[in-house]
Structures are given as structure tokens and as C-alpha cells.
């Protein structure tokens, strides 16, 4: 494909804009000097990712991303941050001098993912189907061929839920139990 071909297709422009937005927001998530700002940049990154899925005609995945990650996960992040400590303005405690090891780790993960993607697809062009994925087909494959991975994932979530309760819960001492019973 020549450069001219590339430029003449609007989908490439949309893809580039979305991709740049995702990369920028992702970068700001880790560099923001205010923890609420970081969470809000995460919203931007996730919204951009949902846009990328829309470009692939994967409507259901895109809106799942919005519903679950933006609507629930980031909202809970924000909720948790604000209910504990969230001053407006810059927070110097968010900066660290130990940047080397995380930097190397991040670069390694990036290299690994890039290598894996190139190894699997090379320069093969994956064109979008143009029409949205059939929801009935998606549902049937999730509850048919892929039913075991699907159920295993929900089992992991159940485990996480019980683990969360175990960590957060504190058993009452006998005195406290009596007090509670008295009320």
C-alpha cells in the first residue's frame, strides 16, 4: 500500500487519531501529578480503546468496555480515591525517584506484546467486516464453544469477591458483639 492509498482512506485517519489519543492518555495516567487526574485520563484511554473496537465493527465489545470499565471500574476507582484522600492540586507524593526498574519492565512488556503481535499477524491486513458482529452468534459461541473459559472467568471473579470480603472484614470481639446485640 502506498502512502497515497493510506491517506485517502478516512478509516486510517480515525484510527491514527484514536490511537494517538489512547497513547497520550495512557502516558498521562502514569505521569499525572494528581491521582484523580490519572483516573480521568484512564477514562480517556478506555474510551479511545472502545473507539478502536468500534472501528473493527465489534460493537458489543466496545460498549461492554464502556459499561464495565468506564461505568463501573473507573467509577469505583474515583469513589475509592475520593472517599479516602483526594486533595485538588498537585500531589508531590505521587512522584518517585525509582523510575529505572518500572521503566525497564514497561519497555520489556511493550517489546513482548509487539513481538507477539508481529509474530502472529505479521504485516497482514485485517479489514473490518463493515457490519456489526451478530449478537446472536456472539452469544451462542460464548455459551456454546467457549462456555468453559467463560464460566472459569466468572469463577475467578467470585474468588476475587470472596477474597475481598475476607481482607476487608474484621470479626467482632465478644464485647463488640454484645454491644451490637444491645442496639
Amino acid at each position: 500500500m502506498t502512502l497515497g492509498d493510506w491517506i485517502s482512506q478516512p478509516v486510517n485517519w480515525v484510527f491514527s487519531a484514536l490511537g494517538l489519543a489512547v497513547v497520550f492518555s495512557g502516558f498521562r495516567v502514569v505521569t499525572a501529578k494528581n491521582v484523580v487526574h490519572a483516573a480521568l485520563y484512564l477514562v480517556g484511554a478506555l474510551a479511545g480503546t472502545a473507539g478502536l473496537f468500534l472501528l473493527l465493527s465489534a460493537e458489543f465489545v466496545a460498549w461492554s468496555l464502556v459499561l464495565v470499565y468506564i461505568g463501573a471500574v473507573v467509577v469505583l476507582f474515583l469513589f475509592g480515591i475520593m472517599i479516602t484522600r483526594a486533595p485538588t492540586g498537585l500531589d508531590p507524593a505521587l512522584d518517585t525517584n525509582r523510575k529505572l526498574v518500572p521503566g525497564v519492565l514497561a519497555a520489556a512488556v511493550f517489546a513482548l506484546m509487539t513481538w507477539a503481535a508481529f509474530d502472529a499477524f505479521g504485516v497482514e491486513q485485517i479489514t473490518s467486516a463493515g457490519v456489526a458482529t451478530d449478537n446472536a452468534l456472539l452469544g451462542e459461541s460464548l455459551l456454546g464453544r467457549f462456555v468453559i473459559p467463560f464460566e472459569v472467568v466468572s469463577f475467578v471473579l467470585l474468588g476475587a469477591l470472596i477474597g475481598g470480603i475476607t481482607i476487608a472484614r474484621r470479626d467482632l470481639t465478644p464485647v463488640e458483639e454484645e454491644e451490637r446485640a444491645a442496639v
Binding site: 494528581n34 484523580v36 487526574h37 480521568l40 477514562v43 460493537e59 458489543f60 460498549w63 461492554s64 464502556v66 459499561l67 468506564i70 461505568g71 463501573a72 473507573v74 467509577v75 469505583l76 474515583l78 469513589f79 475520593m82 472517599i83 483526594a86 485538588t88 492540586g89 456489526a132 451478530d134 449478537n135
Partner: protein, 335 residues
């Protein structure tokens, strides 16, 4: 002549611009109609006069005057506020509202975009306003705002679940998630789904009231405790944005409920050929009926306590909605 004029709308960008303009005009109009209904009805229910002078009769121009008042007010941003977040929050809330109009079917083919995941999209996009509310509460740098924002977030998270689960009943019955598909399925079936989904409809309306943070679920802006909650520091047109979004959301929530449970733009007994003309009127009638019920509740019920609110959602509505899904699925397979 008319056809050549209409040909312009074949262009994607022209059509997009026209649709955006239509929604941009629709939202203030709806806000004014429902807002005016609210002030007049509340006055009636409390045996007061309500607005009387603006416009000469019935005070019909009251909300136009209010709108102009908001625009000429000073745009105040508190010194300690986080300016970019403070400014973005009302826009985000309004975007969540505008985006909901995309999937509301006003008649056969009269829909901005009939997405195959219509109802799922509507529920996903409405969660954007939760972020907007949290941003507003936090960025104001005000205790009352922050508490209001936190209460709102806790409430919106808790009631989003029953809202989504209640909608699933109708989706199972229709066998599609497309909004116009659900209406067509009701036309084919010959009855509105509320007949079998009355539990789902009830849960949906209660959860919708809570999502709209209206009385009896208005703890986030409880004026006797929190001044005005997350809206405390907002003034001028930014406040107007929240205000418009609230009333437009009443419209969209009622429209979604009408589509899922009450047959949308269709009424039993109306010949389907005439729906293209009568459909929007039928839908609007249903929407305003539901909006009237919401206003009626507001001036009838006292406010819940915070723990009662959470108990209602987690211990009653969610199990009930799950049982409703189970029962619906059972009958769908058996019958």
C-alpha cells in the same frame, strides 16, 4: 422539488449536522416543557399558585426567563477548584444525555441510528454521567460538593444494576437488543410487554428514579443537609447544563421505559400503516405520562435515608430482578 431538497441529506456530514442540530434544539425544548410541568404541578399539589405573571397567562414564559437569567449570570469558578475538571464535568453529563437520543425509536424507521446493541448502548452510555457527577463533586473543592458527589456515585452504582437487569426481561422476550426491534416484537406479539414484565417495569421505574437522583432518592443534593450537593459551586450556564441534563434525562429514561415495556410508538388497536404519523405522538404521550408519574412521586414521598437506599437496591431490587430474569427465561423456553 421536495425530493431534490431531501437529497442533500444523503451526504453523511449534512445528515449528521442536521441530526445534531435537531437534538440540540430538542433538549432545551424538552427541558422547558418538563420543567414547566414540574413547577406548575408541584404548585397544584401543594395548593400554591406557582408562576403566574411571566408571559401574561399561566406564567408560560417562566422557564424562558429562567434560561435567559442563567445565561447572563456570572460564571463563577472557586479559587481552589480544579479548573479543567470543573469545566468539563457539566459537558460530560450533557454528552451522556445527548448520546441517549441516538437509539430512541420515535416511529417506524424514525430513529437516529438503530444499533443492533441498542438497549445495551443506552445503558452503557448513561454511565458516563456518573463520572461527570463525581468530577463535579470533587473538583469544586467543597466539603458539601464532595459528599454529594460520593453519595451520588454510590447511588448510581447501586441502581445501575437493577436498571440493567430489569431491562434484560424485555430483551429475552423480544429476542433482540435493538430498540426498534423490541417495539416490532411487541407489535408482532400483539401486547405490550408490561403485561408479563410488570415486575421488570416496576424495578426499572424505581431504579430510573434513583438514577435521576429525584425524590425520594435525592440524597446527593439533599438541600437540608448538603446545600445543593455536587451542584453547590456551579452557577450560570454550567448550572443550566446540569439542569437541562436532569430534565432531558427524565425524558430519555421515560422513553426507554416506554419502548421496553409499554410498546414504544405503538398502541394496541392502532393500524400499523398509520404508525409513521401517529407513532411519535403515541410515544410522546407515554413519555409524558411517565414523566408526570415521576413528578407526582417527587411531591408525594419523603426522602429515603442513605442506608435504606442501599438496602433497597442490594437486598430487594437486585434479587427480585434476577428472579424475574430466571422466570422470564424459563417461560421463554417452556412456552
Amino acid at each position: 422539488m421536495l425530493e431534490t431538497v431531501l437529497d442533500i441529506f444523503d451526504n453523511f456530514w449534512v445528515a449528521l449536522g442536521a441530526k445534531l442540530l435537531l437534538v440540540a434544539l430538542l433538549i432545551p425544548l424538552i427541558g422547558m416543557v418538563i420543567g414547566f410541568a414540574e413547577i406548575k404541578l408541584s404548585a397544584k399539589m401543594q395548593a400554591r399558585m406557582g408562576p403566574y405573571f411571566a408571559g401574561g397567562r399561566w406564567g408560560w414564559a417562566q422557564l424562558i426567563a429562567d434560561g435567559i437569567k442563567f445565561f447572563q449570570k456570572e460564571d463563577i469558578i472557586p479559587d481552589n477548584a480544579d479548573r479543567p475538571v470543573f469545566k468539563t464535568a457539566p459537558m460530560l453529563v450533557l454528552v451522556g444525555t445527548v448520546a441517549l437520543f441516538v437509539v430512541i425509536p420515535f416511529g417506524p424507521g424514525l430513529i437516529f441510528r438503530d444499533l443492533s446493541v441498542g438497549i445495551f448502548y443506552a445503558l452503557a452510555i448513561s454511565s458516563l454521567s456518573t463520572i461527570g457527577v463525581l468530577m463535579a463533586g470533587w473538583s469544586s473543592a467543597n466539603k458539601y460538593s464532595l459528599i454529594g458527589g460520593l453519595r451520588a456515585a454510590g447511588q448510581l452504582i447501586a441502581y445501575e444494576l437493577p436498571l440493567v437487569l430489569a431491562a434484560v426481561g424485555s430483551v429475552i422476550m423480544a429476542g433482540t437488543m435493538s430498540m426498534s426491534g423490541i417495539v416490532e416484537a411487541q407489535i408482532t406479539a400483539g401486547y405490550p410487554y408490561v403485561i408479563f414484565q410488570f415486575v421488570g417495569f416496576g424495578i426499572f421505574m424505581v431504579a430510573a428514579l434513583a438514577e435521576l437522583t429525584r425524590i425520594p432518592f435525592d440524597m446527593p443534593i439533599a438541600e437540608s443537609e448538603l446545600v445543593m450537593g455536587y451542584l453547590t459551586e456551579y452557577s450560570g450556564f454550567r448550572f443550566l447544563f446540569f439542569f437541562l441534563a436532569e430534565f432531558a434525562n427524565m425524558f430519555t429514561m421515560s422513553a426507554i421505559a416506554a419502548t421496553l415495556f409499554l410498546g414504544g410508538y405503538w398502541l394496541p388497536g392502532i393500524p400499523t400503516e398509520t404508525l409513521e404519523f401517529v407513532g411519535p405522538v403515541i410515544l410522546l404521550a407515554k413519555v409524558f405520562l411517565l414523566a408526570f408519574a415521576m413528578i407526582w412521586f417527587r411531591w408525594t414521598f419523603p426522602r429515603f435515608r442513605e442506608d435504606q437506599l442501599q438496602t433497597l437496591a442490594w437486598k430487594w431490587l437486585i434479587p427480585l430482578a434476577l428472579a424475574n430474569i430466571g422466570a422470564t427465561a424459563f417461560f421463554k423456553v417452556v412456552l
